[in-house]
Amino acid sequence: MDPALVKLALGGIALLGCIGLFFGIGLALAAHKFAVEANPLIEEVLESLAGAQCGGCGYPGCEGYAIAVVTNPEVPPNLCFPGKEKVAERVAQLTGKKMTAVEDMIALVRCSRKEGRVSHKHEYIGFASCTAANLGFGGPSSCNYSCIGLGECAESCPFDAIAMVDGFPVVNPDKCVACGTCVRACPKKVIELMSLKARVHVPCSTKDLGKNVRKVCEVGCISCQMCVKKCPAEAIAYTDGLITIDHPKCIAYGPECQEICVEKCPRNIMRKYEGRVAIARQADGLKMAS
């Protein structure tokens, strides 16, 4: 080979080596200068969390919550929903915070449009997502408050706890950890988190006037407020067009009322809540209907 070429090649290698060395030293110095003091407690808390990255705590990822719960005395230790009581206890212990009760909650779909035989007010052509369909005059369902059924909740659930059965979301109680991701995903706000110990519930989200509800849905709540009047515990309220139940109050009152609200509801939409049993039954019913 031409010695001139060899010389050139060697020169090139030497030059590249020098550049590499220069940047290497630079990086090493930078790493030293800007090193972040890692807080071992944050690391420890992070390890104790469920690690599902579900965002249910309201922080960006598990690390976000770990940092917040360690550095901010206001942040309670029981926000990691998938971790349930065990994780909450551990976080409380690590951070020296007071352990607050962890209630077993579940996502509840507050709509019964299948049962109510709700029709479509128009045909929807477009991107198959609930939010997109909702942009077109509130979605195709005749009830403007009903579930649209394109499964954005199911898609959003980090625990795969929602199955779409014949275009309607069904929550699997064994998988749902009540992280609330679906509640945030649903553009119709028909999903809410409810205590598994709840005694009664209203699976309807309409805020419309009774006469309009009757036109579109066979079972929807007509806001007659019978339940509000009859409840001896004063646990039921009608706020903002919607029936809301103060579950702790209802549970505290106990079985003595014999669920008079359920009995008096003319639409049979105030229902007994039998926890997991009822949900399983609802799922079976939908499967059979489909």
Binding site: H122, G126, F127, S129, A132, L135, G136, F137, L209
Partner: protein, 439 residues
Amino acid sequence: MTSLLTFPKGGVHPPASKGLTENLAIEVMATPDELEIILGQHIGAPCTPTVAPKDAVQEGQVIGEVTKGLGVPLHAPVAGTIKSFGMSGHPMRVSAPSITIQTNKEAAPVQYSRCDWQKLAKEELLAKVHGAGIIGIGGAGFPSHVKLSPPPDNPVDTLILNGAECEPYITADHRQMLERAQEIVEGALVILKILGITKCFIGIENNKPDAIKTMTEAAAAVSTPEHTVVVQPLQVKYPQGSEKQLIQAITGRKVPGFALPSAVGVVVHNVSTARAIYDAVVLSKPLYEKVMTISGKGIKRPANLLVKVGTKVSDIVEYLGGVTPELAKIVMGGPMMGFAVSSLDIPVTKTTSSVLFLAEDEIDTTPHSQCIRCGWCLEACPMGLEPKEVGLYVEAGRPQDTGQFGVFECFECGCCAYVCPAKRPLVQFVRLAKMKAKR
């Protein structure tokens, strides 16, 4: 003859479809028995009622007022009785709070007479515009008195009246320019006085030669050495009537990203808003009537109607003899930027410019498919954005990452969706992206 002006980037040429109504004179529709006045008609907080159920009201009486922030008052379009407060259908919000008025059929219509507005000071004129409830009735409903008080650090030197009416089907502005030319031009003089400037252009698309002629004559009649009103014919290209595009076509000035027209020294008003300002200032008449186009093969008798604000679409349909069996889709607004609705229980607001009853052969129901990356949407977009990327990101479940494609600059003109050979609902993707992306 001046050469035809236009904006430089993008744009499309949808069929004009104006033949159904362009030769029909504006017809005054009989007042229905009941009106539903939506409380939030302008951009800003909705009005709070200043009346109570069972109250008797006079035509033109204030019935709602904004308590804080941006907004204008709301007036009773008829004499009658307040029946109730409730909810009414709304093309975008599905339902919205409203006041229902029972019309008193016996009451004589109010007569308004001219006042000597030239004697009034700028502040008095502005107060009249505000008090009459004037908003941008050709567009989104931005309160006009705010537009007429540009920030002092942006001196304005040009007024543009928008008579482009580039949306297919709609002929309401066209008819007003033919039938109300003097009033529009006098409205322009009022605006010039408020702004303290001397130059006004009226932009009209070249497919309305009769309107160009009538308006040119009316403009020449009022032009003096002190203030000039000049009609500027424009090339027929959608969206010629969009604010930023119109400014660039007429003045050559480019409004930067998120800035307002006043940033380049321009204020734009629709011709129908100019007429409403004429009503407000010259006649002291509040805004409670609306000229609108009812068109499409799905309605028995297409028309240009003058209706009371609060008239329900169902009343209009009845007045025009009902719908035809071919009706397939109802759109409130134009076919490019309007909103499809599936109810007739929707009252007209100050900003409703048309209701279209479209037959099967006037719409396209082909389901959309995958993007073939033809790039047509990029070419069509007048803002120079990348609609296809927004669509792909939304489909991939990443709407939050679409800020980089300028979604917030998109004004939803629909050019991209119009040209897309894959029929992709690009505007819908953008609207979804806007809800989830970070600014």
